[in-house]
């Protein structure tokens, strides 16, 4: 314990806050000047454009180059010849316009917070895993676990996606222009999934919370997934979101099926409020 007390983070009081469950202090003056970016974010200009040829680079070199370009103020970066390499474009915590001219392998654009990304080809499994904020548009199809554990932002696939899309998602929006595989929204905790096509078996299995909208047919619902009534706010939001998603498809939103949690498997019931807060 003595060694713990010497720890830098202990001195800051961060551990006390978590352990005692005390409310965080307000560390800022609400009247202070407007600032829209993280403290150490790069000041980039969308009109400043550059290209990275990824043909002879590995994923680490590509990611380093992206960071380097952002530090020089480039706000639009085009990756040429991505060659379906894995883990490309991860950990971007900045506003940025990233264009991938081709396809990505697995875990592409993971853990991002802020960028707008366009991928002209396909993506492998777990695209935009753990995404916090921003917008990712995939022009063709995506593999399984599309948007696994995302916490925020808009993740769009204009084609079809594999199984377990939105697994464990805790926020954000996933929009699929085509069909989705089995166990879509598996253990979903919050956020929204919109599928304009058909969905495979066990949709929304064991979902704790969140909403799923389906335009086509549903093979079967998972445990505790139940149908709910569409509201005017849902329709208005869907109309707006489809415009944002850039999917050019005519949809009768009122005919869509809305799926929510029946809350019979709601394991949060057994948790103390302090434990519960970590899940929202």
């Amino acid at each position: 314990m003595a060694s713990l007390k010497k720890h830098k983070s202990q001195e800051m009081g961060l551990h006390d806050e978590v352990l005692t469950g005390r409310t965080q202090q307000v560390f800022f003056n609400p009247e202070e000047s407007e600032n829209f970016f993280y403290h150490d974010a790069y000041d980039v200009d969308f009109n400043k454009r550059t290209e990275i040829d990824a043909k002879n680079l590995d994923c680490r070199e590509i990611n380093d180059k992206i960071k380097n370009m952002m530090s020089k103020g480039y706000g639009t970066i085009v990756i040429k010849n991505p060659g379906s390499k894995h883990s490309v474009g991860v950990g971007i915590l900045n506003k940025l316009n990233l264009i991938v001219d081709g396809s990505l392998g697995y875990f592409g654009i993971g853990s991002v917070d802020g960028p707008t990304v366009r991928i002209s080809g396909r993506v492998g499994w777990s695209c935009a895993e753990n995404m916090m904020a921003g917008k990712v548009v995939v022009e063709k199809n995506a593999g399984s676990c599309f948007g696994a554990a995302i916490r925020g932002g808009d993740l769009i696939c204009k084609g079809s996606v594999g199984a377990r899309s939105g697994i464990d998602m805790k926020g954000g929006t996933i929009i699929v222009g085509g069909d989705a595989g089995a166990f879509t929204g598996f253990m979903m905790q919050r956020g929204r999934i919109v599928i304009l096509g058909d969905v495979g078996p066990n949709l929304g299995d064991s979902l704790y919370d969140g909403t799923i909208f389906v335009g086509g047919s549903i093979k079967s619902l998972g445990a505790d997934a139940v149908e709910a009534e569409m509201t005017d706010l849902d329709v208005a939001w869907l109309k707006r979101k489809l415009k944002v998603s850039e999917i050019d498809k005519k949809v009768d939103f009122k005919k869509m099926t809305k799926i929510v949690s029946g809350k019979k498997l709601w394991n949060y019931d057994n948790l103390e409020p302090t434990e519960r807060k970590g899940a929202i």
Binding site: S9, V26, F36, R151
Partner: protein, 136 residues
């Protein structure tokens, strides 16, 4: 010397009722426990109620809508209005002088504004943490 008479202070045992306040719905009665959320976590934002600050933020980020902020709502911590910051895994209480509107849509917009100001402030706890741990 006579001993001073001292009153025995009998501490009243706190009942557990504070934990059970707010048991209203059939589901809560069944499990005998209040289900934490005092607001609708799935409430979609009403874009007619965007504040000027949020409009500016959307413009600065180059987005078309609230993006990740759609999931931000005004909640409660210890009975006080607060917004949850996922970056610190903790609640940020609203400034004491801030008068909140009754409508949840309006409250949520204020929560979003507050959270941006908190996260982007140079006094955010993660700024200090990053200074201490950042790899060069």
């Amino acid at each position: 010397m006579a001993k001073k008479k001292t009153k025995k202070v009998v501490k009243k045992r706190k009942s557990n009722s504070s934990k059970d306040k707010g048991i209203k719905t059939a589901r809560e009665k069944m499990i005998g426990q209040h289900i934490g959320y005092r607001y609708d976590v799935n409430l979609l934002p009403d874009y007619n109620r965007l504040t000027p600050f949020l409009k500016k933020y959307i413009e600065h980020m180059g987005w078309d809508d609230l993006n990740w902020l759609e999931d931000v709502h005004m909640g409660y911590e210890d009975g006080k209005p607060a917004v949850f910051d996922r970056n610190i895994n903790g609640w940020v209480t609203t400034p004491p002088k801030l008068k909140l509107p009754k409508d949840q849509q309006d409250r949520d917009m204020i929560a979003r504004e507050l959270l941006i100001k908190f996260q982007m402030s140079s006094n955010h706890p993660l700024v200090t943490l990053k200074k201490a741990y950042k790899k060069n």
